[in-house]
Amino acid sequence: MKAIAGLIALALLWSTVSAGADEAPPPPGCEVPANLLTTDNTLNKVAEAVKTEGRLDIMVIGSRSATVVAADGTGFPGRMEAALRDKLPTVKVNVNLQLQIKKTAGDVVHDLDHILEGKQPTLVIWQTGTVDAMRAVDPDDFRTAVDDGVTALKRQGADVVLMNLQYGPRMETMITTAPYLDVMRLVAQQHEAPLFDRFAIMHHWNETGQFDLFNNSRGIELAKRVHDCLGRALATFVIDAARIKPAELRTQQ
C-alpha cells in the first residue's frame, strides 16, 4: 500500500515538475492587454506625416517620472524612440523631451509658447497629472488646464496623446489619484485624443507579477525595465492610433 501511495506521490510530483518546465516563465516581453493599447481616437496628422513625408517628429512633455535618473535614453521617451525606429525603419523618427519638473498642468500651459518655440512636432505626448495630484490641485482647475493645453496644442497643428500618472502601490495611501485619472480620461474623450493609460498598464503589470512595484531596492534596474516596457507599449499605441501598418509602409518604399 505504502509503495503504491509513494509511487502516486512521485508521479504527481513528476507531473507538476514537468508542467512547470513546460510553462517556463515568459521572457520579459512587457505584455499589455490589447484593450489598453487600442483606442478609437485616431492620430491623423501622424498618419499623414509618416505616409507622405516619411518622418515623425514627436515631442514628449513630461515631469520627473518621464525619466529614470536623468534625461537620457533610459526613460520611456527614449525607449519609445528606439522602438519606433525599430518598427518603422523607413521613417525618420525624432523624439524631443521637454522636462517640466515640479510643474502642474496649469504651469505647463502657461509656458506652452515657450516650450513649443521654434518646434513643429507632429505629435505631442503630454504626460501630466502627477504634480497636480501631489499638490491636491482642485480637480476643476486641473481639468481647465488640461483642456486648455490640449486645445492649444491642437491649434498648433499637432496631434495629442495624453499620458496619465504612474501606478505605485505604496503611493496609494499618500496620493489621491482617482479624480486626476478621471479628468484626463474625460478631457481625452472630449477632444478625441488618445489616452495612454500608464496607470492601468502599470497596475496590470503589478497584478500579474511581471514587475514587483513594491520593490524596495535602490537599484535602477527595475525602473529601467519598466521604462523600457512603457516605451515599447507607447510605440505600439502610437502606431495603432495612427492606423499605420508597418508592412504596407515597407512595400510602398
Binding site: 478609437d40 515631469s63 520627473r64 517620472s65 529614470v68 535618473v69 515640479k102 502627477t130 504634480v131 501631489m134 499638490r135 491636491a136 490641485v137 482642485d138 480637480p139 476643476d140 481639468r143 504612474q166 505605485g168 502601490p169 505604496r170 503611493m171 496609494e172 495611501t173 499618500m174 496620493i175 489621491t176 479624480p179 478621471d182 479628468v183 480620461r185 474625460l186 474623450q189 472630449q190 497596475h203 497584478e207 507579477g209 514587483d212 512595484l213 513594491f214 520593490n215 524596495n216 531596492s217 535602490r218 537599484g219 535602477i220 527595475l222 525602473a223 519598466v226
Partner: protein, 421 residues
C-alpha cells in the same frame, strides 16, 4: 411598531410612510421633534444602510480589487459618502432634537459639542497612525521609479507645521476627509436644530441657498499645503440638513409623494441613465452613445461640491430603497444582515476602525505584495473585524446599561440612534 396599524392599508404607501418617520406611535401623534422610538425599538433600516455604507467606504479606501466592483460608485453617480452623511444628519437630528426639546438648547448643545470633541480626538488618533505609516515608508522605500511621487513626503521635513495644520483640520491626508466634514457639520448642528424645530422648511430653504451660493461663488475652506477641502462643507451641509429635515417630520410629509408611481418611474429611469453613463467610464467605446451636448453639460460630476447629479442620484436611490424595503421587512431580523446593522449602530467607532484597517490593509498588501487573492482576503477580513468589533461594542453597552441603568439612561437613549451621546 404600532404606527404601522395606524396607516392606511396598501403596502406601498404604508412602507413609504413608515420609512423615514421614526417607527413609534409618539411620532404619529405628536409633531416631529419629540418623536422617538420607544426604548428597545429602532429604525433598523437606517442602521443597515449606514453599516453597509461603512463597509463600502472601507472597501473604496483599499487599493482597487475584486470587491471594489461591488461598491455602488461603479453603478451610478453617488457613493457611500452620501449615504453616510445623510443618515448621520438624520440620526443626529433625531437624538439631539429630542434632547433639545426635553432639556433645552444649552444642554443639548453641550452634548453635541461633547460629541464633536470625540470625533476630533478620533481624527487626531487616525492622523497619528497615518504619520507612523508614512514615516515608515519614507525611511524604508527608495525605489528610483517613484522619485517624483516620493516628493509628497517632503512635509515630513517640517513636522511642526504639518502637525499644527493637521490639528487645525487643514492638513488631511488621503482617506481622512470625511471626519473633518462631519466635525464641521456637527459644530453647526445646535443652530440647525434650533431653527429646524421652529421653521423646518425655512431651514431647508436656507441650506439650499447656501448650497447655491457655494456653487455660484466657489466657496470652500482652504487646505494645507494648498488646495481646498475635498468634501466642501458648504455644499455637503445640504445632505446633512436634508437628513435632519427628514428626521424632524419631513419624511412623514413626503410620504404621499414617495408612494407615487410616477416618482418611482422617474427615479428608476434616472438610476438607469446614471448606470449607463457610469458604464461609459469603464467601457469607453460606449462613450459615443452619449450625445456631445449632454456630455458638455453633465461633466465634470464634481464630488467636492456635491454635484446636483450626485445629490439627485442619492435621492433616487433613497426613494427606491424606501419603496422596496419596508421597515417591517423580515430580512432586517435575519442573522445575515446583523453584522451590517451592528456596524451601523456604532458608526463613529466603526468608521475610525475602517480607516485604520484601510491603512493596515495597504500596509499588508505592500509587504506581502500578493495578487488578487490576498486583496480579497484583506477586504473580507476587514469587514469581519469591523463586525466583530461592533458586536463587542454592543455587548459592552448592554452590560454597562444593566450595571447603571439610571445613571446611564440618557446615554443609552442617545446610543439608540447610533449617533451616540
Amino acid at each position: 411598531m404600532t404606527s404601522v396599524t395606524d396607516q392606511p392599508a396598501g403596502g406601498l404607501a404604508e412602507s413609504a410612510v413608515k420609512d423615514r418617520a421614526p417607527p413609534s406611535s409618539p411620532v404619529q401623534k405628536a409633531p416631529a421633534p419629540v418623536g422617538g422610538p420607544a426604548p428597545g425599538e429602532r429604525e433598523l433600516r437606517l442602521d443597515l444602510f449606514r453599516g453597509l455604507a461603512l463597509w463600502l467606504i472601507f472597501v473604496d479606501h483599499l487599493p482597487p480589487n475584486l470587491f471594489t466592483w461591488l461598491t455602488i460608485r461603479n453603478y451610478g453617480f453617488s457613493d457611500a459618502t452620501e449615504i453616510f452623511i445623510f443618515i448621520s444628519g438624520y440620526t443626529a437630528a433625531f437624538v439631539y432634537g429630542r434632547a433639545m426639546t426635553d432639556r433645552g438648547f444649552v444642554v443639548a448643545s453641550a452634548r453635541i459639542l461633547k460629541r464633536v470633541w470625540q470625533i476630533y480626538v478620533a481624527h487626531v488618533f487616525l492622523f497619528t497612525i497615518f504619520l507612523a505609516e508614512i514615516s515608515y515608508v519614507a525611511t524604508s522605500f527608495e525605489n528610483p521609479l517613484y522619485t517624483e511621487e516620493m516628493g509628497i513626503l517632503d512635509f515630513l521635513k517640517q513636522p511642526d507645521v504639518t502637525i499644527v495644520q493637521a490639528l487645525l483640520l487643514k492638513f488631511r491626508p488621503v482617506n481622512m476627509d470625511v471626519l473633518p466634514l462631519y466635525i464641521v457639520l456637527m459644530l453647526f448642528l445646535p443652530l440647525i436644530l434650533w431653527l429646524m424645530q421652529r421653521k423646518p422648511d425655512l431651514t431647508l430653504g436656507l441650506s439650499v441657498v447656501i448650497y447655491a451660493i457655494t456653487w455660484e461663488f466657489d466657496l470652500n475652506l482652504p487646505a494645507y499645503p494648498n488646495g481646498v477641502w475635498f468634501f466642501n462643507p458648504f455644499a455637503w451641509q445640504l445632505l446633512f440638513v436634508f437628513g435632519a429635515w427628514c428626521a424632524l417630520g419631513g419624511a412623514r410629509r413626503m410620504a404621499p409623494l414617495l408612494s407615487s408611481r410616477i416618482l418611482l418611474g422617474i427615479c428608476i429611469a434616472y438610476l438607469l441613465a446614471a448606470f449607463f453613463v457610469t458604464l461609459t467610464w469603464h467601457v469607453p467605446r460606449l462613450g459615443h452613445f452619449v450625445p456631445r451636448i449632454i456630455e458638455q453639460w453633465m461633466y465634470p460630476i464634481n464630488k467636492t461640491d456635491l454635484d446636483v447629479l450626485r445629490f439627485m442620484h442619492f435621492l433616487a436611490l433613497a426613494a427606491v430603497a424606501v419603496r422596496f424595503l419596508p421597515s417591517n421587512w423580515p430580512g432586517l431580523r435575519s442573522p445575515w444582515l446583523k453584522p451590517a446593522i451592528l456596524c451601523g449602530q456604532h458608526s463613529l467607532e466603526i468608521f475610525c476602525l475602517g480607516v485604520f484597517l484601510a491603512f493596515a490593509g495597504h500596509f499588508v498588501l505592500a509587504e506581502v505584495s500578493g495578487g488578487a487573492l490576498i486583496h480579497v482576503v484583506v477586504s473580507l477580513s476587514g469587514i469581519v473585524i469591523m463586525s466583530a468589533a461592533a458586536a463587542v461594542f454592543s455587548w459592552y453597552k448592554r452590560v454597562a446599561a444593566k450595571g447603571g441603568k439610571d445613571a446611564k439612561s440618557a446615554e443609552a437613549n442617545a446610543d439608540l440612534a447610533g449617533g451616540g451621546s
